[in-house]
């Protein structure tokens, strides 16, 4: 039996892993899609919920945030939204910002701000919901 002809300089193991030169494969692209699908119902819920409470007092707003159903969906929305935002802004920066150092610095700054905003907002929801 003849040995299989190799028509590519990529190793067979590398082809099977399918992770490419950046070692990430399609993970970034895939997670952007997964979070976008999660955000479809969550966004519809959040926008229409907030639209019904334009003149809410502090008591009414905290009561709404503190309800378990709303608190869980808010935490889910924040997690999906900030993952999706960080992934989207990363692509925009990678497309338009020239220069390795400027791009890397801006990417790290944007990711850091996204994580801090996500943690702050989640802490706020938990603090209102758990007491």
């Amino acid at each position: 039996m003849a040995a299989p002809t190799i028509r590519s300089l990529r190793t067979p193991l590398g082809r099977v892993r399918g992770l490419g030169a950046a070692r990430g494969g399609t993970h970034h692209w895939w997670m952007q899609r997964v979070t976008s699908i999660a955000l479809l119902p969550l966004t519809v819920w959040l926008v229409f919920s907030l639209a019904t409470m334009p003149d809410s007092t502090w008591q009414q707003a905290t009561a709404w945030i503190g309800r378990p159903f709303n608190a869980v969906l808010l935490l889910a929305f924040l997690a999906a939204a900030f993952h999706h935002t960080a992934a989207g802004l990363q692509v925009v920066i990678e497309d338009y910002v020239r220069g390795e150092m400027a791009r890397l610095g801006l990417l790290l700054a944007v990711k850091g701000v996204c994580v801090l905003l996500w943690l702050s907002a989640s802490l706020a929801v938990l603090r209102i919901a758990v007491r």
């Binding site: 945030i65 925009v92 907002a121 706020a124």
Partner: protein
Amino acid sequence: MSKITDTREAVMVGRRSDGSLVRRPLSPHLQAYDMLQMTSALSITHRITGVVWSVGLVFLVWWLLAAASGEAAFNGVMWFLGSFVGVIGLMGLTAAAWYHTLAGIRHLYWDSGRGFDLPTTYLTGRAVLIGTAALTALTWLIMLIAWI
């Protein structure tokens, strides 16, 4: 020509017949491309509304943090959101959010490998625009009814 600061530009450098270096044009070739046709206009609008939504998230975080920290801080946020600038900003954010949501559904449809022919592209593009207008109007109608 100026110094190359980005390694990705190395493959985009050529030489003229007299030997001098020239920087080749990079995609999306704005100097040769009509950015006013619907396909490309909706495409860049999807990206812009995504960035706008990111900024809008900061206001959602502010609203939640203020609600958690107390009545005075919450009243401050609600005063700003109810001001002229706040209402105009929220209206723009509503439109951007619905556009990005609907254009995102269009992208997921494209990801399934469908809808790339020109008639379908124009059809889904118009659907996104009409849907954005309808959902934005519906959102503010609900808000007005709740306000009264």
